[in-house]
Every structure is written in C-alpha cells, then in structure tokens.
C-alpha cells in the first residue's frame, strides 16, 4: 500500500487516461455489456450503445482538455432526463454511469501497476461525481414531471358541465383542498354568469372523505353561488359520508342535499319548472283517445 500512495496523483491520472485511450474500444464494449445487462428489457440496446459511445467520447475529451466537462455533463443531463421521463428507476439510471467503473477496473487489474491503482482512486471519485450529477438531474426531471401532472390534474379534475338549460354541475373527484376549492369556486361562479344558470349541482360522489375542511369549502362555495342568485344542491352523499358528517356535527343548514346526481337533477328541474311525462303514459293516453 505504501508504494501505491507514494505515487503522485497526477501520474496515476495520466496512467488512467493512457489506459482509456489505448483500450478505448474494449473498455467501451465492456461498459456497454455491463450497462445493457443491468437494464430491464424495455431498453433499446443499439440506442444505449450509441449513447454510451457518445458519453465515452465526451469523457475522453474532458480528460484531454484539462477538466472541461461541460459537454459530458450536458450529455449526462439529457440521458437522465430521458430516463426519468421513460420511467426508469434511479438505480437503472445510475448504473449506466457506475458501470464504467467496473469496466475500467478490469483493465486496471490486468495492468496492475501502482500508478494505475492510484489513478483508479481518482477515476473512481470522478465517476462518483458524475453519478451523483446524473441522479440529481434524474430527480429534478422526475419532480418536474410530478409538478406538471399536478397542474394538469388541477385543470382536469374540475370541469363544470351543463346538465340542462339553467342547470350546471360540478362533479368533484378526489381530495378537496384549499387550492382546488378555489379553482372549483371560480369556475363554477364564472360558468353561472356565462350560462345564466340559476341552479348548480355540486356532486361529491368522487370525494373519498368529507372532513370539516371539505365541508367548510363546500359551504363557502354554496354561499358564494347564492350571493350570485343561484341555488346549489349538493349530491352524491353516500351512506358512510352521511354517517360521518352527522357524527362530526357538521350542519348543512338549509342547503339541499341529495343521495345521487339523478335526484339532484330531478330536484333542480322541478325547481325550474320543467316537468317530465313518461312516453309510455302518453301512448296509453293516445290509445284511449283513439
């Protein structure tokens, strides 16, 4: 060990660079093998091989140009972003980088000189740095995906639909937090104005639990709609939700609530003076007349 440590660091580094350049093709092939075997089936081998070749060239270049690794880092960032979007695990992404360590180590062993071993410590640190860089980029890309999805979800999950002339409905699905209530309330009030509706149905069939916060948000929305001259019906109160609301002690006051959206629509239609006559009855009447 004493021999190894007495080798100057830059001598080791030069030896590694030499080794990488001399065995360029062989190291690359070994790296491609290692990275390929550790990835699951959904990876395109030819694609991966091309990516690794590019990375390897960039690595050699960065070694040659006295440590300018911006090209290499750019490529790594792209690779980790792509992998994050395609749903690779962090390990599958990191192993691509760390695989090079294993590939190079096999050549160091064959070489066996103190310089090479000293150099490998340096090389190891370099790869670790690049690995961490890759993971950081990977999780940044993942977080971006999550943020994008959350935004899309907020938009998606709050449609206001017109059920009838003068009747609109908001089917709520999922968790009702302050941010979503805000979006729901704004959309509902705007739709009431746009369509000139006087009835709104808020359907909570898709809300898994109604706690005091959800109830408070619902109450506020109803009051806001009332201020604009529209009556709200809350529908989709399932038995377990009714049970929970009563036990919690929440009072909906004079707000009309219904078990199903159909009941709520029937109620709103009745309120707005629309009456339905079943067709069979009408046919029967006609026969009598005939």
């Amino acid at each position: 060990m004493g021999v190894t440590l007495s080798v100057p660091a830059d001598a080791g580094r030069r030896r590694i660079e030499q080794l990488l350049q001399d065995n360029e093709e062989r190291v690359l092939r070994r790296w491609q093998e290692i990275a390929g075997s550790s990835s699951t089936g959904n990876v395109d081998r030819a694609d991966l091989a091309a990516q690794l070749r590019e990375l390897f060239q960039a690595l050699l270049q960065s070694l040659g140009e006295g440590g300018d690794s911006s090209d290499l880092r750019g490529l790594l960032a792209e690779l980790s972003r792509n992998r994050a979007r395609q749903g690779f695990t962090p390990s599958e992404t990191a192993i691509v980088v760390f695989g090079l360590k294993e590939a190079v180590y096999e050549f160091i062993e064959t070489d066996g000189s103190p310089e090479a071993l000293r150099g490998f410590v340096w090389f190891s640190q370099l790869i670790d740095d690049l690995g961490l860089f890759t993971i950081e980029n990977y999780s940044a890309a993942r977080e971006k995906v999550i943020v994008d999805q959350a935004e899309q979800l907020l938009e998606l999950s709050t449609p206001v639909v017109k059920l009838w002339e003068g009747i609109v409905a908001v089917p709520l699905v999922g968790t009702l937090d302050s941010a979503r209530t805000q979006v729901v309330m704004e959309k509902l009030l705007q739709t009431l104005v746009d369509t000139g509706s006087e009835h709104a149905v808020i359907d909570i069939t898709g809300v898994p639990a109604v706690d005091t916060q959800v109830a408070q948000h619902l109450l506020k929305t109803v009051v806001a709609a009332r201020l604009m001259g529209a009556e709200c019906v809350i529908s989709g109160i399932r038995p377990q939700i009714a049970h929970t609301i009563v036990t919690l002690g929440i009072e909906f006051g004079d707000i009309v609530t219904k078990a199903s959206l159909a009941d709520a629509l029937a109620h709103a239609l009745r309120e707005s003076g629309v009456e339905f006559v079943s067709r069979r009855t009408r046919v029967a009447v006609r026969t009598e007349e005939g």
Partner: protein
C-alpha cells in the same frame, strides 16, 4: 401482524398520504365501510390540526388487538404550542384557526377511544382507537 408505521405531517400532501395510509390499514383491520370512513375522517382532522396549529408533527399507525377484537390505533404527536384549555378546545364550534370548530370534538365522536394530552409549550399527543365490530 403488521408493524406500526410512522408518517410525517409537514404539508397538505402529507395529510393526503396519512389519509390513504389509514384507509389501507382500516381495510386490513376489517373495519366496516362506515367505520373506515369515520376513522379516515378523524385522521384527516387530527393530521390537519397538527399541521395548522403546530406547524407539523407525525402520526403512528398501528394495528392493535384486544382479545379477539382488532383495532386501529393512531397516535398524533407534535411539538407545537400545546392546548391551554383542553375542555374548551373540545367544545363544538370552538376554533382559534378559522375552521368550523368541529375537528377535535368531532374526531372524538368518530372514534371509540380518545386520549388527549397537552400542555402549553409542551406539544400535543392524541391517541385514538377504532375497534372492529
């Protein structure tokens, strides 16, 4: 028997996670749909209380057994300012945070056992248990 799990409560997302976790545990214990919803709602209230009044805390979810009966026990703890007057805090409609004032008192009704320990400056510890019928 599953081991107890501890979940952090540091944001609104954590409240959602707590709710989901409690629901899964409630199904495992064999609570009826009504009781599942009740315990999930209580968990939601207490987790939000920890978040709003103490700035965060954690919850321990465990499955307990009493003879043949299985139950779900939730322990909420925080290092917040604590509750100065517990009796008043448990009165329906009493709130210092702009809510409906039913979270704490309502949660007590939603579960079978409710234990509240708190003192000003010492945080709050709430243990609730719901037994399967």
């Amino acid at each position: 028997m599953t081991t107890p799990t501890e979940l952090p409560i540091n944001g609104n997302n954590d409240v959602v996670l707590v709710r989901q976790h409690v629901r899964t545990a409630a199904v495992d214990v064999g609570l009826s749909l009504v009781d599942q919803t009740k315990v999930v709602t209580a968990a939601s209230e207490l987790a939000r209380n920890a978040l709003v009044y103490a700035g965060g805390g954690r919850v321990r979810v465990e499955i307990v057994q009493n003879g043949l009966r299985k139950g779900l026990r939730l322990t909420f703890s925080d290092e917040g300012p604590g509750i100065p007057d517990i009796e008043q805090a448990l009165v329906d409609g009493w709130t210092t945070g702009g809510g409906l004032g039913l979270g704490l008192s309502g949660s007590r009704r939603l579960v079978d056992e409710f234990d509240l320990k708190s003192a000003p400056g010492e945080g709050t510890l709430i243990t609730v248990t719901k037994w399967a019928r």
